[in-house]
C-alpha cells in the first residue's frame, strides 16, 4: 500500500531552511541564532521522521509513504523523478539520521563554541543532513545518488573545515576523490541497470520498478550491476580498496567525525545494498564478494587499530572494521542484521566519537592517547558514557553491540561462509582489545597529560554531555529491539524490516547459542589482554613492539597502503600528465606540428622569395623556364 504523504517534503525542507539561514543570515545574526536554528531544524526533522515512522507502523506491513516533488531527468525514453518514499528501511534510517544528527548538532553548539566559523559549520552540517535525508528518502537510485554525492561533498567540506591547514585540505580532497572513484562505479552500476531494464522496454531507476522487473536481469547482468554499485559502496563506506580516506578524515571537527564518519554517511553503502537486496539476491557471487570484502576489511582495519595512538584514528579504523561487519552481514543475506548493526553502531560509535571529542575538547585539542591517562576523575560523565559505548562495541551483552554483531555472525555462519565467520569472530576479539586499550590509555593509569593542559582540563558543558547521556542510553539498550528470536519479545527489528529487506533464512544449520558464546568469549579474551597489557603490565606493549618491530611498523604504517597508492597511482598520474601528455604530446608533438607547419611555410616563403633577386635577367630566365615548360606541355600534347 502506497500513500502520498506530503510531510516527506517537509523533512527535507527544514534542513534546507537551516542551510539557507546559516548561509545568508548566520554570520550576521550571530551565534545565538545559529545555535538555535542549526540543531533546531534537525530536531524538527526528527519529529517529522517520528511522525512518518509512526504512520508506517500504523499501516499494514509493507506499506510505504511516497511523495513526488517534481519530474527530474528525462532523456530519450529514460525518465526519473525527484520522488521521496519511506518504507520500513528508510524509516529506520531517517530516525538514525535525524535522531543522532539532532543530538550531535546540539553537541556541536558546545564543541564549536570557540570557533569563529560556526555559521559555516552549521551550514555544512545542515546541508549534510539534507543530503543524507535525500539519500535515504530517495525513491530511485539516481536520486539516491544525489544524496550520495551530496554527503560526500559535505564530508569534503567538513574535513577541510579548518582549511588553513594544508594537510586538512588535502585530506578533504582525498576523501572526495576516493569517493568519486567509487561513485564512478556507482554510475556505471546505474547505467547497467537502466540498460538492462531498457532492453526490456522499462526506462526507470525507481526502486519499485526495478523490483517489479527483476525478471529482466540475468545472473550476469545482476552481478555486474551489483558489483559496480558495491564499488560505490566501498568508497562511501570505506571498504577495501577505497577505505584510505576515512582515517584521514578525522582531521575534521569531532562532531563531524561522529555524525558523518561514524554514524550516518559511511553506512550509506550498507543502506544501498540493503535497499537493493532483491537485486543482490539475484547475484550470489556479488553477495559473496560483498561479504568477503566486508570480513577482510573488518579484520584488516582492526589490526591497524591495535597500534594507533591517535584516539580518533583508533576510532576511525574501528569504524572501518565495524562497517566491514555490516557488509559481512548484508553480504551474507542478513540484510536486517546489517541495518541493525548500522543502527547500534550509530549509537555507540557516535557516542565514542562524541566522548573522544569531549576529551579532546577538555584537553584543549590533545588527541594523542599516549599523552592522556587517568582522566576518569576529571571528566566523569565522559568516562562513564564512553565506558558504556566501549562495552557496547565490544559486544558484551546486554549492550546493543552484542545483539547486532551476534546477528551478523549468525548470518555469516548460517549462509555457509564459515571462513568469514571465523574472521568475524577473531575481529570481535581484536575489537574488544583495541577498544579497551583506548579506554585504559585514556581514563586509567597515571596521567601523562601535559601539565599545562591538565590544569585546564575540565568536564564538558551540559550542552555536550546531554547528548552523551542520551546516546549512552541508546547504546546500552538500543539493541533490545533485536533480541534473538524466541527470547522475550524476539527480533522486532528484523520483523519490522522483513517486508522491505526480506527475512534471513540460514542455509546451514546453526548451533544457536553456541555461536554467541564463542564470539563473546573471544571478545572477553581481547578485553582481558588489553587489561593485562595496559593496566597490569603497562611496560609490556613496548617490549612487544620492540620485539616484533617489523610487524609493529607494518601495522603502524597501515600496511603501507597509502604509500603504495601514492607510488602506483598518484605519482605516475602526475608524471604522465606533466611530462608525457602536457609537454610531450601537447607542446611537443601537436603544437610542434602546428608551429612546424607554420615555420615550414614561412621558410619556403623565405626561400621562394630569393627568386626575386631584383635582377631583370633572372626574371627573364624564370620566365623562360615557364615558356619552356608550357611549350614542352604542348609538345607533349602534339607528340602523344
Amino acid at each position: 500500500m502506497t500513500v502520498e504523504f506530503g510531510a516527506l517534503g517537509l523533512i527535507l525542507l527544514f534542513p534546507l531552511i537551516g542551510v539557507l539561514f546559516n548561509l545568508f543570515l548566520g554570520a550576521r545574526l550571530g551565534r545565538r541564532w545559529v545555535n538555535i536554528v542549526g540543531p533546531g531544524v534537525i530536531f524538527i526533522a526528527f519529529a517529522l521522521g517520528i511522525w512518518a515512522f509512526a504512520k508506517i507502523l500504523s499501516m499494514p506491513a509493507g506499506s510505504e509513504l511516497h511523495y513526488k516533488l517534481w519530474d527530474w531527468i528525462e532523456g530519450g525514453s529514460f525518465h526519473v523523478e525527484f520522488g521521496l518514499r519511506i518504507d520500513a528501511l528508510s524509516a529506520v534510517m531517517v530516525l538514525i539520521v535525524t535522531g543522532i544528527g539532532a543530538f550531535i548538532h546540539l553537541y556541536s553548539d558546545g564543541y564549536m563554541a570557540h570557533d569563529a566559523d560556526y555559521a559555516r559549520f552549521f551550514t555544512y552540517m545542515n546541508l549534510f543532513a539534507l543530503a543524507m535525508l535525500i539519500l535515504v528518502l530517495a525513491d530511485n537510485l539516481l536520486m539516491m545518488f544525489v544524496g550520495w554525492e551530496g554527503v560526500g561533498l559535505c564530508s569534503y567540506l567538513l574535513i577541510a573545515f579548518w582549511y588553513s591547514n594544508p594537510e586538512f585540505a588535502y585530506n578533504g580532497r582525498k576523501a572526495f576523490i576516493a569517493n568519486r572513484v567509487g561513485d564512478a562505479g556507482f554510475i556505471l552500476g546505474m547505467l547497467t541497470i537502466i540498460a538492462v531494464l531498457g532492453h526490456g522496454g522499462v526506462w526507470s531507476l525507481d526502486f519499485g520498478t526495478i523490483h517489479r522487473h527483476l525478471g529482466l536481469f540475468t545472473t550476469t547482468t545482476a552481478t555486474v550491476a551489483c558489483l559496480l554499485l558495491f564499488l560505490g559502496a566501498t568508497g562511501k563506506s570505506a571498504q577495501i580498496p577505497l577505505y584510505v580516506w576515512l582515517p584521514d578524515a578525522m582531521v575534521g571537527p569531532t562532531p563531524v567525525s561522529a555524525l558523518i564518519h561514524a554514524a550516518t554517511m559511511v553506512t550509506a553503502g550498507v543502506y544501498m545494498v540493503a535497499r537493493l537486496n532483491f537485486l543482490y539476491m539475484l547475484a550470489p557471487s556479488a553477495m559473496m564478494v560483498v561479504a568477503t570484502i566486508g570480513a577482510v576489511t573488518a579484520l584488516f582495519a582492526g589490526t591497524i587499530a591495535i597500534v594507533q595512538s591517535d584516539i580518533k584514528k583508533v576510532l576511525a579504523y574501528s569504524t572501518i572494521s565495524q562497517l566491514g561487519y555490516m557488509f559481512l552481514g548484508v553480504g551474507s543475506g542478513a540484510f536486517a542484521a546489517g541495518i541493525f548493526h548500522v543502527m547500534t553502531h550509530a549509537f555507540f560509535k557516535g557516542l565514542l566519537f562524541l566522548c573522544a571529542g569531549s576529551v579532546i575538547h577538555g584537553l584543549g585539542g590533545e588527541q594523542d592517547m599516549t599523552r592522556m591517562g587517568g582522566l576518569r576523575k576529571v571528566m566523569p560523565i565522559t568516562f562513564w558514557t564512553m565506558l558504556i559505548a566501549t562495552i557496547a562495541i565490544s559486544a558484551i551483552p546486554p549492550f546493543s553491540g552484542f545483539f547486532s554483531k551476534d546477528m551478523i555472525l549468525a548470518g555469516a555462519y548460517g549462509s555457509g561462509h564459515f571462513g568469514l565467520w571465523i574472521i568475524g569472530v577473531i575481529t570481535a576479539g581484536i575489537t574488544g582489545f583495541y577498544m579497551f586499550r583506548l579506554l585504559f590509555l585514556t581514563f586509567f593509569g597515571e596521567s601523562r597529560v601535559d601539565p599545562e593542559r591538565l590544569h585546564h582540563a575540565h568536564e564538558s558543558p551540559p550542552v555536550m554531555t546531554i547528548p552523551l547521556i542520551v546516546l549512552a542510553i541508546a547504546a546500552a539498550i538500543g539493541g533490545w529491539v533485536g533480541l534473538p528470536d524466541g527470547f522475550l519479545w524476539g527480533d522486532l527489528f528484523s520483523r519490522f524490516l522483513a517486508p522491505t529487506v526480506g527475512t534471513f533464512t540460514p542455509t546451514v544449520a546453526t548451533p544457536g547459542v553456541l555461536l554467541s558464546v564463542i564470539a563473546l568469549a573471544i571478545s572477553i579474551v581481547g578485553i582481558i589482554i588489553a587489561w593485562v597489557l595496559y593496566i597490569w603490565m603497562p611496560g609490556l606493549p613496548y617490549l612487544i613492539a620492540w620485539r616484533a618491530k617489523a610487524l609493529y611498523t607494518l601495522l603502524l604504517q597501515k600496511y603501507y597502503i597509502d604509500q603504495f597508492y601514492n607510488l602506483i597511482v598518484t605519482r605516475p598520474l602526475f608524471f604522465v600528465s606533466n611530462w608525457i601528455l602536457h609537454r610531450g604530446v601537447d607542446r611537443f608533438a601537436i603544437d610542434g606540428t602546428v608551429n612546424g607547419t607554420g615555420i615550414a611555410l614561412e621558410t619556403s616563403g623565405a626561400i621562394a622569395r630569393r627568386s626575386e633577386t631584383g635582377n631583370i635577367q633572372h626574371y627573364a630566365f624564370i620566365y623562360l623556364l615557364g615558356v619552356i615548360g608550357i611549350v614542352a606541355y604542348y609538345l607533349f600534347l602534339v607528340m602523344r
Binding site: R609, R610, E612, T613, G614, N615, I616, Q617, A620, F621, L624
Partner: protein, 100 residues
C-alpha cells in the same frame, strides 16, 4: 617560293637569339635590342605565313608591329635615360633596389 619551314625556322632561330640576348646581356640597351630581334623574328613569321595563306592580314600586322616597336622605343629609351640620370648605369644587374 621558299618553303615555309625554312621561313619559320629562321624566324624561330632569330627569336631565340633575341631571347638569349635578353637573358645574357647586362646592358639594358642591348637587352632592348634583343627584344627588337624578337619582334623582327615574329614579323618574319607573319610575312612568311601571310604569303602562304594568301591574305594581307599578316602584312598589315607587321605594319602595326613596327608602329608598336617605334612607340616602345620612344618610351623605352626615355625610361632608360631617366634611369641613367638617377643611377648612372645601364647595367641590369645594378638595378636591384627593388627585390625580394
Amino acid at each position: 617560293m621558299v618553303p615555309l619551314p625554312y621561313m619559320m625556322a629562321l624566324s624561330a632561330i632569330v627569336f631565340v637569339i633575341g631571347v638569349a640576348g635578353f637573358i645574357t646581356r647586362r646592358n639594358i640597351l642591348i637587352m632592348f635590342m634583343s627584344v627588337e630581334l624578337m619582334l623582327n623574328a615574329v614579323n618574319l613569321a607573319f610575312i612568311g605565313l601571310a604569303s602562304r595563306l594568301g591574305t594581307m592580314d599578316g602584312q598589315v600586322i607587321v605594319f602595326f608591329v613596327m608602329t608598336v616597336a617605334a612607340a616602345e622605343a620612344a618610351v623605352g629609351l626615355a625610361i632608360i635615360i631617366s634611369v641613367f640620370r638617377n643611377r648612372e648605369t645601364v647595367r641590369a644587374d645594378e638595378l636591384n633596389l627593388l627585390k625580394w
